[in-house]
């Protein structure tokens, strides 16, 4: 029997598992193939919803579904986080002490915000990368009575549009609260333009100009002085704030670093096959890769579809046929009721169009449709 082991029960791991279950139904029924998912949590979180929690537009209870209910019943699912990868012997050891062997391994453990990478950020900044932080941000926005809002971004980070979305959504939020005349915005970004994707930067900068949002590029936060409410940059400039919103730099998961699978927790991955460099039967998807593309749910989704087809062929003595072409699709909330999107791949850059209400409503609908998407029904 061919054993496919998926480590990680987020967007990528769940879509991959269901994709395989659909493609390999007959082989799994006949016990010629097995698919096992190991996850660190019994619950699956819709992470993009955290942004909406911060603005009071989604409840925390909307963010979670039991992982088991998202998986095809033919999939073996265990809440048993992996601690040791023994790739030379095709097995992993999990927290329970149990060892899981495999013929093919997919690693999709995700990424985590590292606020401690910048001294003072953890203590003084608000962000939307955990449930607790999103709720605190909601409270900070709700009680803000005016002053200087600073947005600070570290790289790499999960969801490339979040710095822009936070800024646009805060603008509309404070406008609705009739606070705009008491609020100033300072948007900072680490490279020489307001977004890493050039065409998105070309679209966003005039929007900022129109809204009166000032911005400073080539700004890499070095330290936050909470007593003085100042952010010092590596470049020597200083931004003062009353409300500090951070998009913290991310790393891959600790277990990846501890097992020396890749620096900073990012596993070296072939951009077309999604194979781990130097390994024939190990694949990587989602945030866990070191690929120079967005760390986003849609990236994991498109990768999982390619990998599902290829792994299904490998498990049935075929050969992989498809290449991942770098496809990513990101909605961009441009305020409280308008949105646009960026769709791109390795060869074709995004070309964001003017925001519309229809795209915003489609995004809100997707926030609910996500659960069907990871089930493989969409």
């Amino acid at each position: 029997m061919k054993r496919i082991l998926i480590v990680g029960g987020g967007t990528g791991g769940t879509i991959l598992a269901n994709n395989l279950a659909r493609r390999l139904r007959h082989e799994m029924d006949a016990a010629r193939v097995s698919v096992t998912v190991l996850s660190a949590s019994p619950r699956h979180m819709y992470q993009p919803g955290l942004l909406y929690v911060a603005f009071g537009k989604m409840a925390v209870s909307d963010l979670y579904v039991d992982q088991e209910t998202l998986l095809d019943p033919s999939i073996h699912f265990h809440v048993d986080p992996v601690e040791t990868f023994d790739l030379d012997h095709n097995e992993v050891k999990a927290k329970s002490g149990k060892t899981y062997g495999y013929d093919y391994l997919a690693i999709c453990t995700g990424s985590r915000p590292t606020l401690n990478a910048v001294p003072g950020l953890m203590e003084n900044a608000h962000h939307v990368y955990t449930e607790e932080a999103a709720l605190k941000t909601a409270e900070a926005l709700r009680t803000f009575e005016g002053g200087r809002v600073a947005i600070v971004t570290g790289v790499p980070h999960k969801c490339p549009m979040v710095p822009l979305e936070l800024t646009f959504m805060m603008y509309d939020y404070f406008k609705d609260r009739e606070l705009l005349d008491k609020v100033s915005f300072k948007y900072t970004y680490p490279i020489g333009r307001v977004h890493s994707l050039e065409n998105v930067a070309k679209w966003a900068a005039p929007e900022f100009d129109r809204m009166g949002v000032s911005y400073e590029t080539l700004f890499n936060a070095k330290e936050v002085d909470g007593a003085q409410r100042r952010i010092h940059s590596e470049e020597g400039s200083v931004v003062e704030y009353d409300l500090l919103i951070a998009v913290p730099p991310h790393k891959g998961m600790e277990v990846i670093e501890q097992n020396k699978l890749g620096p900073s927790g990012w596993i070296p991955t072939n951009r077309a096959t999604l194979g781990m460099e130097g390994r024939d039967n190990v694949f990587v998807l989602g945030d866990t890769t070191n690929l120079p593309i967005s760390k986003a749910g849609s990236t994991a989704h498109y990768e999982a579809e390619v990998l599902g087809e290829n792994l299904a062929r490998l498990a049935t003595d075929g050969r992989p046929m498809r290449s991942y072409e770098g496809k990513v699709f990101c909605f961009i909330e441009a305020g409280k009721d308008r949105a646009t999107y960026a769709s791109f791949d390795y060869k074709n850059p995004p070309r964001p169009q003017p925001p519309t209400r229809a795209i915003h409503w489609f995004k809100l609908a997707y926030n609910r449709l996500y659960w069907n998407s990871v089930r493989g029904l969409l």
Partner: protein
Amino acid sequence: MSEAKIVDARGSFCPGPLMELIAAMRAASVGEELEVLSTDRGSAEDIPEWIKKVGHTLISSSEEAGVYRLRVRKAK
């Protein structure tokens, strides 16, 4: 010419090379020279801008066979 510490960021895409230079500069001493190798054109444009903004000194920049070499001296 003194030996420069090499920051090999080939294969890394924007903003990777700039981020690696920032980390290396943090660890370098004033007066020390670093040479960044990058295959990313966007970073080759960003790095001189960053050096100018911070106030370090760009000693030289060149491109050969798709590899950009930027040599910088830490000024402060």
